[in-house]
Amino acid sequence: MLARFAKILMVLVWASTSALIAQAEDAGRVAAPQYTLPENAKSCVADTAFMRRNHMNMLKHQRDETMHKGIRTKKYSLKNCINCHVTKDEAGKPIKVSNPKHFCAACHEYAAVKLDCFECHRSTPMETGKSAQIPDIPEHTGLLADNSSAVKQLGEYLKGVKQ
């Protein structure tokens, strides 16, 4: 009951925020953040429009799977996002989320949505070790080959989120 109420509230909040964004776009005052693909990747795990709408649900789904069931597939993991979506400063070092140019920060600031991942999670790749490299490229290209099936696959995957 309360959970449903919370959902309704969240939808209302979301609706009003998106309305605001639309207004801002119309007025042409705030430039939308520019999206560029990371150097070594050909695409994200799904197309941009899908990711814009659903990345939070995908992350939430993955977080519960990992946290409670110990499922540690890399593809939709936050670590994978962070390792790929790196913005570097002039010295070539990855920038932290406290910098508004950080991939996540740029968009969230624009949309005025509070970002709660990096209170606990690291917002840059670890500098040393295997995890710093971009993993799972084959999976990415596999998705590129047939985008519609990829979206369908994601839809299936996300069904778990609603529960």
Binding site: L2, A3, A6
Partner: protein, 395 residues
């Protein structure tokens, strides 16, 4: 018996405005403290990995206990049919609601992640006494609101009795729940006793009545109307003495059972006889200032019947109440946890050491602002809705 006519708090003196301003200022400082604590983390408070609950929790628990007790006067009139108390039943219900709101505000604002209040309200672990309490608190709000509605709406008074019974039962369960937050903790020597629930219930009678009496005397003063006759002064005086005697009784039994079992002798010595800050607060704060002096004042025939005595005794009892919760809560955590009975234990994590705790200014400000939230809320509602018996003009 004449029908009671109720009024809003009108034509008040400047004293009322000063009180309101004072509460607003205290709340502002309290909210500033919340922001400060939230920004820098709990490192700026006196709380630590050993004393995990500090001054904000002392005030929050004190207010939540007081909230259920504030309903006393209403219960006495509806459940025990003592109609002399009826004119104050509305005020009693209002205070119950606002004290609970004040206590919960402090509790929530001290969370490590107060921004996740929504999580606390949507995800429940039904084995947690905390989670039960969330239901007990919201249920209490609903029942007391319904109770007030039956008292104040037209032609609803036939339901007042049943609402009064429901509220009375609920408030006993609620305080049992608050006591059980500690009573069910087997890990800490100072808690782990079912006696904490009845002790908290007895305490709630004292704190709640003391708050009600103080507010009543304050509104009489500020509205220049006499709402309490000599009979009621005598009644309140007697009740405060009896309730305080009950608290002393449960306190004595609690410590005696603990002292009798050798296992708990250490923590009993720590609280009662070690001469540390907690035994000082217990003997001087709770027993002397909070119990013996006000009881003696009220029982003394010459001055016991005066309104001034009643208000001073109530203030002392509330101070004693804060001392009582402080000793139970902080003292209980300061006593080192026993991992290896009979052994001397040392580590880098302060094992085997008495926890040190000094309340920081922001913590105290947050705690005190809970009282101000309760008082501001009830003051405001009394101003806009008829909660007070009309009484006679003074002077």
């Amino acid at each position: 018996m004449a029908r009671t006519v109720y009024m809003k708090l009108q034509n008040h003196t400047g004293y009322f405005d000063i009180l309101i301003l004072l509460h607003v200022a205290v709340i502002a400082v309290g909210m500033g403290s919340v922001y400060y604590m939230e920004h820098f983390g709990h490192i700026v408070t006196g709380m630590s990995n050993q004393i995990v609950w500090g001054t904000p929790h002392v005030f929050a628990i004190f207010l939540i206990i007081a909230a259920s007790g504030a309903l006393n006067v209403a219960s006495i009139s509806s459940v025990f049919s003592k109609y002399g108390y009826k004119p104050y039943a509305r005020l009693s219900g209002l205070l119950a609601l606002s004290l609970l709101a004040g206590g919960l505000a402090v509790l929530v604002l001290d969370l490590g992640r107060p921004d996740r209040l929504m999580v606390a309200m949507t995800k429940y672990n039904f084995k947690s006494i905390f989670a039960w309490n969330i239901y007990l608190y919201s249920g209490f709000m609903v029942i007391v609101l319904a109770y007030l509605f039956t008292m104040m709406a037209k032609k609803m008074d036939k339901y007042t009795k049943i609402a009064g019974y429901a509220a009375f039962a609920w408030r006993l369960i609620l305080t049992t729940g608050t006591g059980s937050i500690f009573g069910f903790l087997m890990a800490r020597e100072a808690y782990d006793s079912a006696l904490l629930a009845p002790l908290f219930i007895a305490s709630s009678f004292v704190y709640g009545l003391a708050f009600t009496v103080l507010v009543l005397i304050t509104v009489c003063h500020t509205s220049q109307r006499s709402m309490m006759n000599e009979d009621m002064v005598r009644n309140f005086r007697g009740l405060l003495i009896i309730f305080m005697a009950a608290v002393l009784y449960f306190t004595a039994i609690f410590h005696l059972t603990n002292m009798y079992s050798a296992e708990h002798a250490g923590v009993e010595w720590f609280i009662l006889a070690s001469g540390n800050v907690y035994s000082l607060i217990f003997w001087i704060g709770q027993i002397l200032i909070g119990s013996v002096i006000p009881m003696a004042m009220l029982a003394w025939p010459k001055i016991g019947g005066k309104r001034q005595t009643l208000s001073i005794a109530s203030v002392l009892m509330l101070i004693g109440g804060i001392a009582q919760v402080y000793v139970i809560l902080i003292g209980g955590q300061a006593y080192p946890m026993v991992l290896f009975p009979g052994m001397e234990v040392t580590s880098s994590f302060q094992d085997g050491m008495v926890g040190t705790y000094t309340p920081s200014l922001p913590e105290i400000a947050l705690g005190v602002s809970g009282i101000s939230i309760a008082m501001l809320l009830s003051g405001f509602i009394m101003r806009v809705m008829p909660f007070l018996p009309r009484g006679d003009r003074m002077g």
